[in-house]
């Protein structure tokens, strides 16, 4: 069986590695730092295919929905392989409005969901506050999506790491890929710590850093940029036990099963800077407090900053390339956790069988580099 190297030990690299190893491929994941500490760690873990989609992103929407449907199988297989149960939590999501401008915005979202046949419910202010009593009384009405799900992405990362190694995969941390070696239109390995390592396939899963990996040909550089996201982890206590996901204007509050209340997230074009900043934290807290006044006294656990891999059109870049043996799995932007199952299943199948995945049709890197004949 051929050998595959995965560049990057985030949720995408780990899940791909696991699926390949499980199917008998010899896989090495090379991770520059510690695996699972990039965007995948900072992520909130919402699995909401409808939350932030543009009006013309319908294909991405369907990809997300397909991936969501794969989660039960994905987490079950994972449990079988590593003994850790990471379950989908159907928390439900409420989108409150606080003034007339919000109402207009919600109306637009409502119409969009209705148009594409998604379940959506418009609730009054008092109904909304019955569903989530900690919601501010200033709420004038809300959209309620009762089947919205989330997952503990940190636990998922731990589980994937164990499952990957149990299936025979090898994870090398502190191994930065310094070059992707390509000869005669075919990939033949990578360079790490100055040493050439051979392999038949290489998968680029370097998250926000994917474009910075040396050795990729100019016409195959994934157009991915870091999109900075800051979140605040509050610790829930009896003075404020939010149980539903709340997506207010410009902020979400997400109660996690580990006792955190995530207040997120900023969305900034700041390059690779990962410093938390006063202004963004202030804005998140202010908006979070407007939606749920009771967060005022909650202790702050920590602040996390992650870099989302944002492709130029904000759709994932998953599939093969003109170079034999070179694959991409990056650019997942705001939906990387949600898109983990479909990326792992479809791309691993593609690599093993040699048959392109129809589900991934249109998401390849070639869309950015149209052939000039």
């Amino acid at each position: 069986m051929s050998k595959t190297i995965v560049i990057g030990g985030g949720i995408i690299g780990l899940s791909l590695g696991w699926q390949l190893a499980k199917k008998g491929v010899s896989v090495e994941i090379l991770e520059r730092g510690k695996s699972g500490t990039g965007a995948s760690f900072a992520a909130a873990g919402m699995l909401a295919p409808q939350a932030e989609m543009g009006f013309d992103d319908i294909e991405l929407f369907y990809l997300c929905r397909k991936s969501l449907e794969m989660f039960p199988k994905f987490t079950y297989e994972l449990y079988e392989d590593c003994g850790i149960k990471v379950e989908l939590e159907k928390t439900g999501c409420i989108l409150p409005g606080f003034d007339r401008d919000d109402a207009e915005r919600l109306r637009r979202l409502y119409d969009f969901r209705e148009k594409i046949g998604m379940p959506v419910l418009w609730v009054s202010s008092s109904e909304a506050r019955e569903i989530e009593p900690f919601l501010s009384p200033k709420c004038t009405g809300a959209i309620w999506i009762d089947d919205d799900a989330q997952i503990n992405n940190r636990k998922l990362l731990d589980a994937l790491k164990i499952a990957f190694e149990k299936c025979g995969g090898k994870l090398y941390e502190d191994h930065e890929v310094e070059n992707v070696n390509i000869k005669n239109g075919k990939v033949n390995g990578v360079k790490v710590h100055g040493i050439e390592v051979e392999s038949d396939n290489v998968i680029v899963a370097g998250g926000a850093w994917s474009k910075q990996i040396p050795g990729l040909p100019e016409n195959l550089l994934p157009p991915v940029r870091p999109v900075k996201g800051q979140i605040i982890n509050l610790r829930l206590n009896d003075s404020c036990r939010v149980t539903k996901v709340i997506r207010a204007p410009d902020v979400y509050l997400l109660p996690k099963s580990d006792g955190r209340l995530i207040v997120g997230a900023s969305c900034e074009e700041m390059g690779f800077d990962v410093n938390p900043t006063a202004g963004e934290i202030f804005k998140l807290l202010e908006r979070g407090w407007e939606a749920v006044p009771a967060i005022y006294d909650l202790p702050i656990d920590s602040i996390d900053v992650g870099l989302r891999p944002g492709s130029r059109d904000h759709m994932p870049i998953v599939g093969d390339s003109d170079i034999e043996g070179l694959f991409f799995a990056t650019g997942h932007y705001r939906n990387g956790i949600l898109l983990t199952p479909i990326t792992a299943y479809e791309l691993s199948e593609w690599i093993i069988s040699g048959n392109a995945s129809s589900a991934l049709n249109g998401f390849g890197i070639s869309r950015f580099y149209k052939q000039t004949a």
């Binding site: 009006f55 013309d56 157009p223 940029r225 074009e269 390059g271 800077d273 130029r312 059109d313």
Partner: protein
Amino acid sequence: MQSRADNISEEKMNKLTIADRSFNSRLIVGTSRYPDPQTMLEALEASGTELVTVSIRRLNLNADNGQESILGMLDRAKYSILPNTAGCYTAKEAVLTAQLAREALETNWVKLEVIGDDETLFPDVTELLKAAEVLIKDNFIVLPYCNDDPITCKKLADMGCAAVMPLGAPIGSGMGIRNPYNIQIIRDIISIPVIVDAGVGTASDAALAMELGVDGVLMNTAIAGAERPVTMARAMKLAIEAGRLAFESGRIPKRLYANASSPAEGIINS
């Protein structure tokens, strides 16, 4: 031979001149809040704009070694970059931001914004005047975003700004031109370019602004926040052209009663 319509559209309509530079399009477009960069690039293309404004404080200015960044995506041969100081609340911050932009982007043009409060995003006039003074002295080409107040605009023009940019309505509100009379007065009393900045919601707003005789319109949210930004960008391009042509052509006077367009009297005699 060229028809008369062609003459107007090429000579009068198409050129917007600010300071020492001329632009074929009278539309200036912002780069924030698009669903994704690809859509932004396509919308800019569809809008026909040649002058693009970027928020210095919200962008990565130091993207080197092949980093993908919004600024890096903008084709500088196609678009002139107009840095703006959005997010600044004091003259001091605005001046520093403009200087940072000059260094990083190698342009001494700046769209000067000094915001008074974050609910309305209205300009803080005293801070704005202060910042404009400092920047003009420092050899900047200053395009201040200001209230639709003729006196403020006059002061800014007299100080040596290259254009004035009165708001049509609050930033991002999409409320259109709320005080067309003020805009008209500003147009009348000021000889440098007047650009309506902010407030446009849809194409007719842009056309209306142009019919008032202003030199151009700057917009961002109206395009970026539309359900389909690229087609909205094209709508805006057409609206700006239509509005300008209508202004150049001189509209008919309004009257209360009908005035038959093919007079009945002439027919019998001929």
